[in-house]
């Protein structure tokens, strides 16, 4: 954990902002050619929060996710995770540091089984090398068994028990979304990014997804989610950040954001 100097000060001055954010985004910009996808966004996430990231299509939400998780390096600005600068690091490194993610357009390993998909997520928490796996050293065997057991547990946890042998691409849509979550959890993240986890789900599926997300948070993780389903966002988020045209236009509790005229305008257009 970071040893932030302002921690005691923040308490002393009674700032509303709790001491050490798990994630800080400091004037991050991402420019593609002439397009400013993310424009000087500041944002923070506190440990144990569920933060919603919303905004109209093309607002830059997924780009911001991709900058934080290392798919893109920011054009300028910084991203700090647990006090450590992570901008520009490779995605695998960021995952190893403790940030997990799912993808908006499901990116499972289609021709691997559900179980294998989750086992891949254990990759960064295991270390058997070529010699170990060829010779089946006791360490490698133990590790492989642990990976399998933990992965089965995780499948069970997200409600996908007993389908571990199915190919990922043969699973129904809702299960694929859950499998992505299980795979991300397998990397042992402390901060989990969910990119439109409820997209394409029916109301019942969304309901059980909400329960799952809460359960994950209650197990000690911090969650940031992009979502278009407003009922879900308003229902589970502690705080909501609104992006539009790459800029942060509003931030606060769901009630505050809902009442913000700028948010209404972004979604419905001027003088709606």
């Amino acid at each position: 954990m970071s040893s932030r100097v302002e921690t005691p000060l923040a308490d002393a001055t009674g700032t509303a902002r709790p001491p050490a954010p798990i994630l800080e985004i400091d004037t991050v910009m991402k420019v593609f050619g002439g397009l400013v996808a993310v424009n000087a966004v500041d944002m923070y996430v506190n440990p144990g929060e569920i933060v919603g990231l919303i905004g109209p299509n093309g607002a830059g939400k997924t780009t911001l996710f991709n900058v934080i998780t290392g798919v893109y390096a920011p054009t300028s600005g910084h991203v700090r995770f647990e006090g450590r600068a992570i901008d520009g690091a490779r995605p695998s490194k960021i995952t190893a540091l403790g940030i997990g993610r799912t993808f908006q357009n499901i990116r499972l390993f289609g021709e691997m089984t559900a179980l294998e998909n989750v086992m891949v997520g254990r990759h960064c928490r295991t270390g058997a090398g070529p010699l170990g796996v060829v010779l089946r050293t006791p360490g490698a065997v133990r590790e492989e068994r642990a990976v399998r057991e933990r992965s089965l547990e995780l499948l069970e946890y997200v409600g996908l028990g007993r389908i571990e042998g199915e190919l990922a691409r043969n699973l129904p849509y809702g299960s694929q979304r859950r499998l992505e979550i299980a795979r991300a959890l397998a990397t042992e993240p402390r901060l989990l990014f969910l990119d439109e986890p409820a997209a394409g789900m029916n109301p019942q599926e969304t309901q059980s997804l909400v329960r799952l997300v809460r359960q994950i948070r209650d197990s000690g993780l911090t969650i940031v989610l992009i979502e278009h389903d407003m009922r879900m966002v308003m229902g589970i988020c502690d705080r909501v950040v609104v992006l539009d045209h790459g800029e942060k236009i509003s931030e606060g509790t769901p009630d505050v954001v809902r009442a913000d005229p700028k948010v209404v305008e972004a979604y419905l257009g001027k003088s709606a």
């Binding site: 289609g110 691997m112 294998e116 990759h123 070529p130 796996v133 190919l167 849509y173 694929q176």
Partner: protein, 367 residues
């Protein structure tokens, strides 16, 4: 084993061939195949077929090694035989050019060096694989294929033109036969077993690698590189590892070829060889352990057997035409190869509408 469950709805025979079925059935089949291979020389009693199968075993290893790169990791490599050449020339240069000609040491007295060279031919080729792989890390598909093609040509042209090192087009002769504590591998019969042993050992090592976290990482890269990286897999490192592992097996077999033929020549490593090995992988089934091995046995045997026919002897190009014809036919009816495993299961159980298909249509936002 759970990894087989994806194919469980296939008919039993297809499932077993695809690497599924109960593990005792797989083991029984494997045992039967190995037992048959061990008895074969006694059944055949013909040097010609023993020679053929010795060559087939080399191709079994080459196809299985290339399968790591192309089938499991999904990197199209048209220059694989370059590593085969590196292994072959490595041992030829060490044994003949250096030890015998430069140092004047009698080769019989350093018989152990042959065995070391089988290993180090592989190691050198593995290093070459990683070094050559490094500049290709950002390339995919066509571009990668063209670059690997270039590597192949570089190696072949160097072998052909660096006369001082490789003796150019005249090749290097006098590479010693392997021997161990006075036991010489000087008959076709003995070479058959040596090749069989090397093939079994290589397949064993490859199978352990692909059924591990390393193999999962390779497959994940093939399936979706962005997601693989996001799951904590250092994709560059694992691609290089795939090149190195593939190169290793080609290198050992190249060294073996040198000691087997006693002669290494640039024409052993023509582009056609790379294409043949790649065809074997495709024919047998990419990304499937048994496929390329079985594919190599079937196709190389078939192609050699064809030489018996007078018509083929007078028109050798018929073999190439036949291979092409079979490839095209197979691509129409079994696009995943003879033993294509998982795709078979998929075709029988199409993904529900809106599943992965939808994700594919939506395209990739992070490419």
């Amino acid at each position: 084993m759970n990894e087989n469950a994806g194919t469980r709805k296939l008919n039993p025979l297809a499932a077993i061939l695809a690497g599924g079925g109960p593990s005792w059935v797989q083991r029984a089949i494997l045992g039967a195949v190995v037992a048959f291979a061990l008895m074969l020389p006694f059944l055949l009693q013909s040097n010609r077929w023993l020679t053929l199968f010795t060559i087939v075993f080399i191709y079994v290893v080459l196809a299985s090694g290339l399968n790591i790169v192309v089938g499991f990791t999904g990197l199209l490599d048209l220059g694989y035989v370059a590593f085969y050449a590196i292994g072959g020339y490595f041992t030829a240069i060490i044994m003949v050019q250096l030890v015998r000609n430069r140092w004047g040491i009698e080769l019989d007295s350093v018989w152990w060096l042959v065995w070391l060279n089988l290993l180090f031919g592989g190691v050198v080729a593995a290093v070459a694989g990683a070094v050559l792989g490094y500049p290709t890390l950002r390339l995919r598909g066509d571009y990668l294929a063209i670059m690997t093609l270039g590597f192949h040509e570089i190696i072949r042209i160097v072998a052909n033109n660096w006369v001082g090192l490789t003796r150019g087009p005249s090749g290097i002769s006098g590479i010693p036969k392997p021997s161990i504590f006075g036991f010489d591998f000087n008959t076709q019969f003995r070479f058959y077993y040596l090749a069989l042993g090397m093939a079994l050992l290589s397949l064993f090592v490859i199978s352990r690698m692909v059924r591990s976290r390393i193999g999962r990482a390779w497959t994940a890269i093939r399936e979706d590189e962005v997601a693989a990286e996001a799951m904590g897999i250092h994709t560059s490192r694992y691609k290089l590892l795939a090149y190195a592992a593939g190169g290793f097996f080609a290198g050992t077999m190249g060294a073996f070829l040198g000691h087997y033929l006693n002669f290494i020549h640039p024409s052993n490593f023509k582009l056609m060889e790379s294409i043949t090995v790649l065809s074997l992988v495709v024919l047998g089934g990419m990304g499937n352990l048994a496929g390329p091995a079985v594919g190599a046995v079937i196709w190389m045997t078939l192609l050699e057997w064809l030489r018996d026919f007078e018509f083929v002897q007078s028109h050798p190009e018929v073999r190439g035409i036949l291979m092409g014809l079979v490839l095209v036919t197979l691509m129409v009816f079994r696009p995943k190869g003879l033993f294509g495993s998982r795709r078979v299961a998929l075709e029988m159980h199409p993904a529900p509408p809106g599943a992965v298909g939808k994700a594919l249509v939506e395209g990739s936002d992070v490419e």
